[in-house]
């Protein structure tokens, strides 16, 4: 079943049918060919319960937060400041992309929203300064994925909910791997551009005075981080509610910057609805596809694959990782998590793996899924904010960062403390 679905998926996507619509069509196909039951009668109920979600409302909130930061001028100043700090490295502004994405990840729980925010500020610069569009946009797509590893994180909330693991602990566990991965993204960028300088723009250097004085441009974003995360750890807001706190705080900051007017609010609202609708059609379609696949026995296939593999715990872990890499090519990340967590996590916990640690590992794998073709929401979002060029360029540009993520998976296995140190210490 998995193979026929994958091949039909590729075919329909190539026809340039909208991704969300393709997922529905595949669901109809499974209903038709793999299931003796009228699964389509469950369609309405699945659409209702996947949209009626007080967790997913964090997505439009985080998108709105990003829109306000962009249109209120905060994002641009953050970007400019990070440019001053990192542009001396081989690769120049590409590092500012990653740096900005890292900072926004700390205020946004959504990878897609993070990528959208950074893309909107950064993309005009690429064209102006003559960067290779592939690496430049790939770095944004990849940097944006940090949104779900560095707290807050919608995906960690979903993981915590499904596995009954503490969400604040998961958040703490994601912090060090997230920052480490940001550094690794910069390292590989520098390495690539050192070998092939034509990929990056001209490196630029600024005086220490300029750098230090630009630091105050980072104050708003740090303040935002403190408020969003603080509201969770102080026990004021649930992780989902903290998104609403973030929106309000972002608006206050934009107000203080004098960046708020009716036109700006109008654009922020329209941008938020556009991006949210684009994401939600894919997510709802993915939920329906997942529903039909589960009914037709995907769970059984997975369970028997994992339980009858006869592998050692480490072998099973590698099998699971391979599984996520492959499924991640084709399946949207939230529904991938919903479909597999109930099957995979109990098995892994039974083998002695820590649930918090495994959650962080899964997030890294899911981040990979966000930037691997053909189904990768971050690729789509970055392409959506470009004025020219093809989706293929973004896909190619994101490749090196996939390698970094693979390396990160290895590091997490070798040094579980990367994830488990903070939750244990605090």
């Amino acid at each position: 079943m998995i193979w026929s679905v994958s091949i039909s998926l590729l075919g329909l996507l190539t026809l340039s049918i909208p991704v969300g619509i393709v997922l529905f069509i595949l669901g109809f196909g499974i209903d038709q060919f793999f299931s003796p039951f009228p699964l389509i009668r469950g369609l309405g109920q699945v659409v209702w319960s996947s949209s009626n979600s007080s967790t997913l409302i964090a997505i439009p909130f985080f998108v709105l937060l990003g829109e306000i930061l962009v249109r209120g001028g905060v994002a641009e100043r953050t970007y400019a400041s990070l440019d001053k700090w990192f542009s001396w490295l081989p690769g120049g502004l590409v590092h500012a992309n990653i740096g900005t994405a890292t900072m926004f990840s700390a205020t946004s729980g959504s990878s897609v929203a993070t990528a959208a925010t950074v893309a909107t500020v950064a993309m005009p610069q690429a064209e102006k300064l003559g960067y290779d569009p592939r690496l430049f946009s790939g770095a944004i797509a990849a940097g944006g994925t940090l949104g779900i590893l560095i707290p807050p994180s919608i995906n960690l909330i979903v993981y915590g909910f499904l596995t009954e693991t503490s969400i604040p602990q998961l958040f703490l566990a994601g912090l060090i791997p997230g920052l480490l991965m940001a550094v690794a993204f910069m390292a590989i960028t520098a390495l690539i551009c050192w070998f092939k300088p034509s990929l990056g723009g001209s490196s630029r250097s600024f005086t220490w005075g300029e750098r230090v004085s630009s630091l105050r441009q980072l104050v708003p974003i740090i303040l935002l981080f403190v408020v969003v995360i603080g509201s969770i750890y102080a026990g004021w807001a649930t992780p989902t509610e903290s998104a609403a706190v973030g929106v309000f705080m972002a608006l206050l900051i934009a107000l203080a910057n004098g960046g708020v007017n009716m036109e700006m609010l109008r654009h922020s609202a329209l941008g938020t609805v556009r991006i949210t609708a684009m994401i939600m059609l894919v997510i709802i379609g993915a939920y329906f596809l997942n529903f039909t696949m589960a009914s037709a026995g995907l769970g059984r296939e997975l369970t028997s694959l994992l339980e009858n593999s006869g592998l050692s715990p480490l072998g099973t872990l590698f099998l699971v990782i391979l599984l996520y890499i492959i499924l991640g090519f084709f399946i949207e990340t939230l529904s991938l998590m919903v479909a597999t967590i109930p099957i995979v996590v109990p098995i892994m916990a039974g083998l002695g793996y820590d649930k918090v640690w495994f959650g962080v590992l899964m997030i890294v794998l899911v981040e990979m899924a966000l930037i691997t073709p053909p189904v990768g929401l971050n690729l789509y979002v970055v392409q959506g904010s470009r004025k020219s060029g093809t989706l293929g360029e973004v896909m190619v540009g994101a490749m090196p960062y996939v390698l970094v993520m693979l390396a990160m998976v290895g590091f997490l296995i070798l040094f579980p403390g990367l994830a488990l140190f903070l939750p244990a210490a605090l």
């Binding site: 699964l39 319960s49 009954e164 969400i167 997942n290 919903v338």
Partner: protein
């Protein structure tokens, strides 16, 4: 020729599914002598559907057999709340009697509301109360913020003068620690394995959240398409090999879970915690009945209609010694 059944189980992470539902449907039933049943099984959480939607889909024939917590589905059938009235059954034996008394009612509800045939009712472990501060009686819950689940439990908390708060399971330890809630209700076993004892000190064994019975039902059209032998075999197997063992285990489970949480007795699951056990007094029981009869049940009778309340009085009410004033 094999009779294929598509079965949707309850929460895949909980013992009821792992120890009873899955083995029964995938091994016991197909392997029973003379059985021609073949089963493909999944669970509602793996399908990504809400627990409250299981019977809606079952009635539509999206699958043949569905299992879910009856309390999740009372939005569609408020009369089903009568299956799990909190506080009236304090032991597994009492709970079983309560469920048996309610069975004919549930049978009719499943048929009328969901076009489904009732096959079995099995319990989740009883829901107990974890509190971070000292409590010694029901009265002490007054003014406290309590995480409960289920509509009737929330209404009961309100009637007790407490505030019902909605917190996801995984967020409870944090909420207890930071004072977002003072007490929280869940199954004793889940509370033990999720480490709630680390952030709370007192354990009340009052089933404030009821027993969360899980109802197994089959699409009515499918049921009617079965031969008499098949019906008979399915029902007997379910009752003897699924329902009975699940109930038998419930009694023992509560005892060992409480041992794990308080340290009084043998804990097989791991290291025992040292919570203070607060057992219900006679006064508590009296007070609980009073509140049920004066506030909670009359409100339910309004939601469900007085016909159902009357039927409840004659069956469950008689068994547990509580009456809805009509």
């Amino acid at each position: 020729q094999a009779e294929e059944l598509s079965v949707v189980g309850s929460w895949s992470s909980l013992p009821l599914y792992k120890q009873y539902e899955a083995p029964f449907w995938t091994e016991t039933l197909p392997g029973a002598e003379g059985s021609d049943f073949e089963v493909s099984m999944t669970t509602f959480d793996q399908m990504g559907i809400a627990g409250g939607d299981v019977y809606r889909m079952l009635g539509d024939g999206v699958f043949d057999v569905g299992m879910t917590v009856a309390d999740y589905t009372v939005g569609d059938a408020p009369e089903l709340e009568g299956l799990d009235v909190p506080l009236v059954a304090t032991t597994a034996d009492d709970a079983r009697k309560m469920v048996d008394a309610a069975r004919p009612m549930v049978e009719d509800i499943m048929k009328e509301r969901f076009n489904a045939k009732l096959l079995a009712i099995a319990p989740y472990p009883p829901q107990v109360v974890f509190c971070k501060d000292e409590v010694s009686s029901l009265d002490d819950l007054k003014g406290k913020k309590i995480r409960g689940s289920g509509r009737m439990t929330t209404k009961l908390l309100e009637a007790l003068g407490a505030e019902g708060i909605n917190v996801a399971f995984s967020e409870v330890p944090g909420a207890l620690e930071r004072g977002g809630v003072d007490c929280a209700v869940t199954g004793a076993g889940s509370g033990y394995s999720a480490g709630w004892w680390e952030v709370s000190s007192h354990l009340m064994t009052l089933p404030l959240g009821g027993w969360d019975p899980v109802v197994t039902a089959m699409n009515m059209d499918k049921w009617e398409s079965l031969s008499d032998e098949q019906k008979e075999m399915l029902q007997t197997q379910l009752t003897e090999k699924f329902e009975a063992p699940a109930w038998d285990a419930a009694a023992g489970a509560l005892e060992s879970d409480i041992a794990c949480l308080t340290g009084n007795g043998e804990c097989a699951a791991g290291e025992a915690a040292s919570m203070t056990l607060v057992e219900p007094t006679e006064a508590d029981t009296q007070q609980a009945r009073k509140i049920l009869e004066e506030t909670v049940l009359p409100e339910w009778a309004e939601r469900a209609g007085s016909d159902w309340a009357k039927r409840w009085n004659e069956s469950v009410g008689k068994t547990v010694g509580v009456q809805v004033p009509l």
